[in-house]
């Protein structure tokens, strides 16, 4: 060891610094706690989804597509042209009869449709008969209906599960994507303000 000739006892350091250092872990823990609580609250209201993935299509035009109509549903088919230059923002909703969250969100779609919001539906990987039964039982909120049985158009949209809902503004640009069921809270906290903003 080098002989520095210093006093064998270290000079007393600033006691305040030491106290602050002791408090630092507490501060970090408190910060983490607040963050965690915010996350939990967000998960409760549905505004935060830990598995949520941002859509790559936000700010872009929807992909080009043309889907066949749902036979017997008495609704026109859906294609990309129907999403361009609408008089007001429109919703595109991917659903399937085999999808449980779709049942949960269906009343909200009915409510939007009754309020005059154009809701367009795309039946994802669903047998047309099953889609028909689903809509007969729960009501049909869709102004237009496309059938995407192979699920290829859905991949062009970057869909990774059903239900997913997209908001397209009057210029035909995708402004918002919701993965998972639309709840009352989602409508109030997210969708209604956006509908007003892009109206």
């Amino acid at each position: 060891m080098s002989a520095t000739g210093q006093a064998p006892i270290a000079a007393p350091r600033n006691p305040w610094r030491r106290r602050l250092l002791l408090l630092a872990p507490l501060g970090v823990a408190a910060g983490a706690g607040v963050g965690f609580l915010a996350m939990l609250r967000g998960m409760g209201t549905g505004s935060y989804n830990p598995r949520g993935v941002p859509s790559a299509l936000i700010g872009k035009a929807p992909p080009d597509f043309a889907l066949p109509p749902l036979e017997g549903a008495d609704r026109p088919a859906l294609s990309a042209a129907d999403l361009r230059g609408a008089a007001r923002p429109v919703l595109v909703n991917f659903f399937a009869s085999w999808c449980m969250p779709c049942v949960i969100e269906h009343p909200q779609l009915m409510q939007l449709s009754r309020a005059g919001v154009p809701v367009f539906g795309i039946a994802y990987k669903d047998k047309p008969d099953d889609s028909q039964n689903f809509l007969r039982r729960h009501g049909n909120p869709y102004a237009r209906l496309g059938v995407d049985q192979p699920g290829r158009v859905a991949i062009d949209w970057g869909l990774y599960g059903v239900p997913e809902t997209y908001l397209i503004d009057k210029e035909g640009i995708i402004r918002w994507r919701w993965a998972g069921p639309l709840t009352e809270d989602t409508l109030r906290a997210e969708l209604q303000p956006l509908l007003r903003r892009y109206a």
Binding site: G5, Q6, P8, A10, V53, A56, G151, I155, Y160
Partner: protein, 157 residues
């Protein structure tokens, strides 16, 4: 140019049985080199449903669809980067298991460097402090003699 179209047609014809087998575990391309390429691409792509698996490893429906798309495009002669771009355009950075370095991913890529650098700085600071509070100097000869005298005086246990 004149050869390309019939060649492509032949290629598609050759891969047609593989297309038909999609949905089975045997969804591979006939050409082993192409299949190997498709697998290499698939291993770089995240399954959006299970999130911690590549589409090659996942049983999810969507992963199977994406595997099929990768194989179709490989069979159609697209390059690796073209296939990757096709999926990146639709699913964003998240679909890439090795996301590109950009502003949005800077923290992701930088975190290990920051952690390592921070750790090194901490170690350095601790070593400096240890050096500052080095053990006291060795006893001088006179001190050593006094100590030994004292110890000798002590009644032995």
């Amino acid at each position: 140019m004149s050869l390309r179209a019939p060649l492509l047609a032949l290629l598609l014809l050759l891969t047609a049985p593989a297309m038909a087998a999609i949905g089975d575990p045997a969804e591979q391309l006939r050409d082993p080199a192409q299949e190997e390429r498709a697998r290499a691409i698939g291993r770089e792509l995240r399954c959006m449903v299970c999130q911690n698996q590549s589409i090659e490893d996942s049983d999810a429906d969507l992963a199977r669809d994406l595997r099929r798309i990768v194989r179709e495009q490989v069979a159609a002669g697209r390059s690796d980067s073209e296939v990757m771009r096709f999926l990146h355009d639709r699913y964003g950075d998240f679909v890439l298991l090795r996301p590109p370095f950009k502003l949005a991913t800077a923290l992701l890529w930088g975190a290990p460097v920051v952690a390592l650098g921070g750790g090194l700085l901490l170690i350095l600071a601790m070593r400096r402090r240890a050096a500052a509070t080095a053990p006291p100097e060795a006893l001088s000869a006179a001190e050593q003699a006094r100590l030994e005298a004292r110890l000798k005086d002590r009644p032995s246990a």
